[in-house]
């Protein structure tokens, strides 16, 4: 097996045994990126120099017998939503096209401490808002399995670079399915950990109560490796869980006995693609063969999950994105042009003697805000800011936001009840495999409906994973979603490992010319 096709777990062994150096590894993957990323478009920025410097440092320290971090020498890609000190962090937005954070996200710091080699920042939907990476203002990412198809999103670049063998490990973020859905579309493994398991400090917020950083990789073992390195309580994040982190790498290989699997009735209804349905049911049979029992369960409020999600997430986003106003950093419109524009407008109104309209004119400051935000944000971001501003407004708050919070509690209760009966909830990650680029660009609602099976985990704060479980006739990967109670990532990883011992879907590779 070539280096680029190896799992991270295997590569780590090779690094430790000296079969390969960190520099060789970094160079191999960087060359792969150089050769194929023009086609795929997974990266917004490749940090070749700093990656090689880090790799050299790891090799030198290894040679000197110094203590190394647990990911020493392993290449990792990072979604461009995590702040990297001194390195542009764009969130795939014009607004932050030139923004250089003065600090590292906690996860970046942990990766650096673990001696991972960060190869670059990956593309995404602008501010993580979208399910196809088509909302990126800075580039197009294609699905390595079929370049006409979207890679999913919002962590589209993060998934595509693993699928295309450009990097073995990748950091994504998941607010409503943004790790699991692109993992499913690109045929890789991706996990949304429990809310609070991984620090959000330095993650540019989309919806603070839903956002979570997670690992994307080729296998359950590799996810365990990366999750172990980035998890843990962070005093800088008040919402991070003060809970011990299990040794995921130690336990991942232990099979689960007498597993009780729940199939959610509501997840096998209308809108589910027949091929996806068939693949998921096949996958369940594999668990049954390994001794699992299957229980038919219901999440009665799941039909409200999309509506609830699309009130809560935009509400929080409308506030989180208020700071991008052109005053302190980020995109600012041409002030001179704005002042000229205002004085022209005033002249016209004065000539017409329209005192009322003159009184209502924007101040220069307000116009600067308006213009900067109009230029800096793309249409989907604007749509969500408007939605969220509306749902938080006086007179609508109770009917929308407050009601959504109540339904959110009911959804969480549904999961709590279900997990009294089953150990895992298993089903499709997405209703369909990857769809063609452009197909849903003009139909945001159908895009939102693609999140049907994934948003529940974010609303409930539980953990979920997507692993490859089949291929459509058109040669597109199909994802199997498994969900577990809060802080039970270990259970998910072990189940995923069990499945991957029996199948080879996760080993399949797209052919890139």
């Amino acid at each position: 097996m070539s280096l680029i096709e190896s799992t991270a777990t295997r590569l780590l062994e090779q690094l430790q045994s000296g079969e390969v150096t960190a520099v060789e590894l970094a160079t191999t993957f960087l060359d792969r990126i150089q050769a194929h990323d023009a086609q795929v478009g997974a990266f917004l920025k490749v940090t070749r120099d700093s990656a090689l410097a880090k790799a050299e440092d790891v090799d030198r320290r290894r040679k000197a017998g110094e203590k190394l971090g647990r990911l020493a020498g392993l290449p990792v890609a990072v979604k461009d939503l995590l702040c990297t000190k001194g390195e542009v962090t764009t969130c795939a937005s014009r607004m932050l096209e030139n923004f250089v954070p003065p600090y590292d996200a906690t996860v970046i710091r942990k990766l650096n401490d673990a001696d991972a080699v960060i190869l670059g920042k990956t593309n995404m939907d602008e501010f993580a808002m979208g399910g196809s990476t088509e909302n990126s203002a800075l580039g197009k990412t294609r699905n390595p399995w079929n370049l006409e198809m979207v890679p999913g999103g919002s962590s589209g670049g993060a998934a595509a670079c693993v699928a295309a063998d450009m990097v073995p490990l990748s950091i994504g973020t998941d607010t409503g399915g943004s790790i699991r859905q692109p993992a499913a579309f690109c045929g890789i493994s991706g996990m949304k950990p429990t809310y609070g398991r991984v620090s959000r400090f330095g993650l540019v917020a989309f919806a603070s109560s839903l956002d979570q950083i997670g690992p994307m990789a080729r296998s359950a073992e590799d996810m365990a490796l990366l999750l172990e390195a980035i998890s843990g309580h962070d005093p800088q994040d008040s919402t991070s869980a003060n809970e011990p982190v299990p040794s995921f790498t130690q336990s991942v290989g232990k099979p689960l006995e007498k597993l009780r699997i729940g199939l959610v009735r509501e997840h096998f209804g209308e809108g589910l693609d027949t091929e996806v349905n068939a693949a998921v049911r096949e996958a369940v049979k594999i668990f049954e063969r390994k001794g699992a029992s299957v229980v038919d369960i219901s999440l009665p409020h799941s039909k409200y999950a999309i509506a609830t999600y699309y009130i809560i997430a935009p509400s929080e986003a409308s506030s989180n994105l208020a700071r991008f106003d052109g005053v302190h950093y980020g995109h600012r419109c041409d002030e001179k042009a704005v002042l000229e524009q205002l004085s022209e407008e005033r002249a016209v109104l004065e000539a017409a003697g329209d005192e009322r309209a003159i009184k209502q004119m924007d101040s220069a400051l307000v116009r600067m805000y308006r213009q900067s935000r109009a230029e800096g944000f793309g249409p989907e971001v604007k749509r969500r800011i408007m939605l969220g501003t509306y749902t938080l407004s006086a007179g609508y708050y109770d009917a929308y936001y407050l009601k959504a919070l109540k339904v959110r509690r009911l959804i969480r209760q549904d999961f709590d009840d279900a997990f009294k009966e089953v150990d895992l909830i298993v089903g499709p990650t997405t209703p369909t495999p990857a769809f063609p680029a452009g197909e849903k660009s003009d139909d945001p609602l159908s895009m939102y409906l693609g999140d049907l099976y994934t948003v529940g985990a974010n609303l409930a704060g539980i953990t979920g994973v997507s692993i490859p479980c089949g291929m459509s006739l058109r040669g597109l990967p199909i994802g199997l979603q498994m969900q577990a109670p809060p802080l039970e990532e270990e259970r998910l990883l072990r189940a995923a490992y069990m499945f991957q011992q029996e199948t080879d879907w996760h080993l399949r590779r797209p052919d890139l010319a």
Partner: protein
């Protein structure tokens, strides 16, 4: 105005006080006043993308202390909310505050006036909640041509907002409320309440209630801002009441006819001015702050804070009155200074063994010097121990009050004891026989005065005092007077 005005003034006050923490509410930046602009900032208070707040426990503890002192109820559960609005000195585009579940609510503060100008009353306190401060904008007011400048050092400083009920009925009551509130905050050590540095800010809501043709009507509520001293608050309220009455006489507009107006106090012109009215009332789109966990307060913690509160100003006043038998007015003056003044007074009163004498000296002489020299009692040059020496001399009739003031003045610029200074000035007690001899001598030389005294014209003795002082400056006028009367009686 001879009659009382034909209206009742309704006043509610909103006080923002900066809590005396070393670091900000949600990050570890210093709160020190006066540093160069934008030097006390970090990704969190700058609102940089990805940064997250972490609550400063000390700020919450200081807020709890205040809440206990203001008789506020403290719910076991409180949360943070975001107040969304755009302004360049608000880098996140929202302020972290508390909306519907504040950390404390429903308390009161008792106010009274030792001069008796209003009856003692309880002013209701609606709530006290924590929030972060915004930064400071410096605009080019004159021309509007230059760029505005923004200093974010203050951004994220912990504030406690204390909102009163509209329970005050005069500017005097409002001032008394503010004075007592500030005193409590300073005694508790929760804030330095320095209005110049912005660590105490006051906004007032005011309108008028009137009976017109047997019906109660109210004028529109006005919020007054920009008041930089308690004096300014007093004047602004007085001005605003008159203004509202005049406007009502002119327009007849009452509370339902227009929205709440904001006016700024112009201290130069001594008037309130209307501030630019917004076209629509602002909607802050409050919602729970998802980046911060709610705060749970255990009943034991509240009990602990209560037990550690120490004496509050009103309790000290009552204790001083009882323990040192001084009038309420005296206790008020001393306590209203500072804890250190109370300590000074108590040391003096105890060692001199005379509360009223100590109180007189502290109020009249010590406080006058503090005011003249603009110093605090900690810098006052005469220690309580040294002043005790002087008081003892007065009690022992070794010196009269007038000459004691001279000694006091000399002590201000010297380290010597009262005794030493008295010796230098040749002050000593005049013994009885010397006094009697002097009296006889004076009476013999002034038969006219003796005659007047015999006829009951007691004030005639006054003329002798001046003569006596010339002969012996140590003569105590009171004793001289008594001795002369005694001698005349026997003549």
């Amino acid at each position: 105005m001879s009659d009382s005005p034909p209206y009742e003034v309704i006043i509610g006050l909103e006080v923002h006080t900066q809590l005396a923490t070393r670091t900000k509410l949600f990050c570890r930046c210093s709160t020190q006043y006066g540093a160069s602009p934008n030097t006390q900032t970090c990704p969190v208070c700058l609102g940089l993308p990805g940064s997250l707040p972490v609550m400063n426990r000390k700020a919450h503890q200081l807020a709890l202390k205040t809440a206990c002192a203001l008789n506020l109820e403290i719910p076991n559960f409180t949360k943070w909310d975001r107040k969304n609005y755009y302004y360049p000195d608000l880098p996140k585009g929202y302020q972290v505050s508390q909306y519907d579940l504040p950390m404390s609510q429903d308390g009161f503060l008792e106010i009274s006036d030792p001069k008796g100008r209003f009856k003692p009353k309880k002013v209701g306190i609606t709530r006290a909640h924590l929030e972060e401060d915004a930064g400071k904008s410096m605009h080019d007011e004159a021309a509007g041509k230059a760029d505005s400048r923004i200093d974010l050092n203050r951004t994220g400083t912990p504030l406690l907002e204390i909102v009163s009920e509209p329970d005050m009925r005069s500017s005097l009551e409002a001032k008394a409320y503010l004075t007592e509130l500030r005193l409590i905050l300073v005694y508790l050590g929760v804030s330095d309440c320095n209005m110049q540095e912005g660590s105490l800010r006051v906004d007032a809501n005011v309108n008028l209630h009137m009976m017109v043709d047997g019906k109660k009507i109210a004028t529109p509520i006005v919020e007054i801002k920009n008041m930089n001293s308690f004096r300014a608050v007093e004047r602004a309220l007085e001005y605003e009441a008159k203004r509202q009455y005049e406007v009502w006489q002119e327009t007849g507009k009452t509370i339902g006819d227009m929205p709440k107006q904001t006016r700024g106090w112009d201290d130069q012109a001594q008037i309130t001015r209307g501030q630019r009215e917004k076209e629509e009332s602002s909607d802050y789109r409050y919602f729970p702050e998802p980046d911060l966990a709610p705060v749970v307060v255990q009943p034991e913690e509240i009990e602990r804070v209560k037990s550690e509160l120490g004496e509050l100003p009103q309790q000290i006043r009552e204790r001083l009155e009882a323990a040192y038998t001084i009038p309420a007015y005296d206790a008020d003056v001393i306590v209203n200074q500072a804890q250190s003044t109370v300590t000074y007074f108590e040391t003096l009163a105890q060692s001199a063994g005379d509360g009223k004498l100590a109180s007189n000296w502290v109020q009249q002489d010590v406080l006058r010097i503090l005011k003249d020299r603009q110093i605090e009692i900690e810098q006052f040059p005469i220690s309580a121990e040294r002043l005790t020496g002087l008081l003892k001399a007065i009690q022992g009739k070794e010196i009269d009050t007038t000459r004691a003031k001279d000694v006091f003045t000399a002590m201000l610029d010297s380290d010597q004891t009262a005794e030493q200074i008295m010796a230098e000035m040749g002050i000593e007690k005049v013994d009885d026989s010397a006094l009697e001899n002097l009296c006889r001598e004076l009476l013999e030389a002034n038969p006219k005065i003796v005659e007047d005294l015999k006829n009951g014209v007691q004030k005639a003795v006054g003329a002798l005092i001046g003569q006596a002082k010339k002969k012996n400056p140590n003569i105590d006028p009171g004793e001289l007077r008594a001795k002369c009367m005694e001698l005349v009686k026997g003549m």
